[in-house]
Amino acid sequence: MTATVKYDEIEVGQQIPAVDYPVRRVNLVMYAGASGDFNPIHWNERHAKAVGLPDVIAHGMFTMAEAGRFVTDWAGDPGAMVDYGVRFSSMVVVPDNDEGAVITVSGVVEEKLDDNRVVVALTARSGDARVLSRARATVRLA
């Protein structure tokens, strides 16, 4: 479990630059299969519209996974994650075209804890919407 970011070199307030994660319909089909969540609002436009949604939407857990990847890529080791929680505040609408949607994730070091742990506050946006709120990851750094 070796994170590559060093605790002593991190300061509260430090920004982690934004990364764009594209999401197309095929990603949602793959995620449905891998996760076992086959709710048709994530792959069937007809069904999504029938229940009042603008279009097919991404699984909340897909967005959480992308924001988690943002943290583990920064920290250098997925095993460094100690605690990770989010609230799903808006939907990621994924149109049926080649562009799909984009989830943009950025972070800021909010707090330094003991035992080389830091709390990263995450922001995830898609279009104009903030799709996660209260998103926090605690990671143990080197």
Partner: protein, 149 residues
């Protein structure tokens, strides 16, 4: 319809263990578009100090609600799945999940409350090894839109 508060505090152990496989971890990593070799190559994982390939942090979602699935579908609870959206999710990790782990998961309906017109139901799941070693705890909050109206 308001959810039946009698369900709060009820615990549902999974009927069988979940065996974490390298292929499933690779499939999950591919599905989230993460090409990190630590999810695929045992040698890379071992070089980073892990016993085998590591599962991505959100991987427990694959099995952590299985035990409670029957209770959530119980008509006595009154949950209308067509109105359910995922409200919140949290994972507290004691250690990462590795390929080769044989995991047990006990899920408890820990809270039901009304917020405005919605009903919020939280399932807390304790994930351990078959030997009882703690691995992670998950909190999954479902929102039933209009359920409290």
């Amino acid at each position: 319809m308001a959810l039946n508060r009698d369900f709060v505090g009820r615990t549902y152990p999974a009927s069988s263990s979940y065996e974490v496989g390298r292929v499933k971890i690779r499939e999950f990593a591919a599905a989230i578009g993460d090409d990190n070799p630590i999810y695929r190559d045992p040698e890379v994982a071992k070089a980073a100090g892990h016993p085998d390939v590591v599962a991505p942090p959100t991987f427990p979602i694959v099995f952590s609600l299985t035990g409670a699935a029957e209770a959530l579908a119980d008509p006595e609870l009154g949950l209308d799945f067509s109105m359910v959206v995922h409200g919140e999710q949290r994972f507290e990790y004691t250690r990462p999940i590795y390929a080769g782990d044989e995991l047990l998961c006990a899920s408890t309906i820990s809270e039901i409350r009304s917020v405005g017109r919605n009903e919020l139901l939280t399932v807390t799941s304790e994930v351990t090894t078959a030997q009882g070693e703690p691995v992670c705890r998950t909190y999954n909050t479902l929102i039933e839109r209009g359920g409290a109206a």
